[in-house]
Symmetry: C2
Subunit: 142 residues, 2 copies
Amino acid sequence: MAVDKTRHRYIVNHMVKYSINSLDAVFSALGDGTRRAILARLAEGETRVTDLAAPYEMSLPAVSKHLRVLEAAGLVTKRKQGRVIYCSLQPQPLMGAADWIAFYRSFWERKFDALASYLDKTADTSPKPANADDQGKEQNDG
Amino acid sequence: MAVDKTRHRYIVNHMVKYSINSLDAVFSALGDGTRRAILARLAEGETRVTDLAAPYEMSLPAVSKHLRVLEAAGLVTKRKQGRVIYCSLQPQPLMGAADWIAFYRSFWERKFDALASYLDKTADTSPKPANADDQGKEQNDG
DNA sequence: CCCGTAATTAACCTTTTCATTAAATATCTG
DNA sequence: CAGATATTTAATGAAAAGGTTAATTACGGG
């Protein structure tokens, strides 16, 4: 049942094709720490607006506006149940953004390979990285 | 140490550690189509400011400002040779952005798996997949 | 029905962004 | 040096972003 990489690629292309979200909106939406934190929270699951707003010192309307931005970028959808509105992460546009970045992957890898040999050659004198392991996973930026 | 993953991972962490760029600046910089186009051009290689500006209708100072934004985000560096300034793509911050997005990968893959089964069931006949993965009451265990 | 809660909208303010044109700086060249 | 070229800085302005408080809409429950 696992979906292979090709399958994913297909799906991504499919979605990009049908996506109404512009990269402008998606990247701009990601350009605010509060909004990234909201997405991080939503990655844990559907959350109500009030709960989403609780951790912040800013007012509820401010959070509401951030949610509108995220919604406009297609990153968040809302579901109303009674007077409560539940927000969910909608990851497809993130995938579009990731795709854009991935387009340059071969370029950077060339760069990184070059840097790698540089580091190999200068191993004696180059500064050592203190904690090289889990950084990528701790990106949970608030 | 734990450089066990890949050489690249090591390098990326190294760079992240020494990077002065915030995700805010990087994602915001990417939130403008002109700037993304500039980066795309720079991915082909070092380019002078004037050449970079040529394809656009906007004035040279406008492009210059975009370059300043990209430079502030750490995405572009400049090299002066005589009166000409050559710009280069600096991909490390893009990597940081990609890492941020990748943090949610497991979440989306669950989504995409759901969509994949949808697509399997509906073949190619349906040209409107947009909300096929309506996540209303989806579980979260991540 | 009234009241409290959930959330948005309205009105407003300040700061930032994105663009412009004109002037300045720096450099190459005849 | 004079003049052309490459690029930035300055001054300016409109629009968007991000925040506030107050008012409003919409429900739910005694």
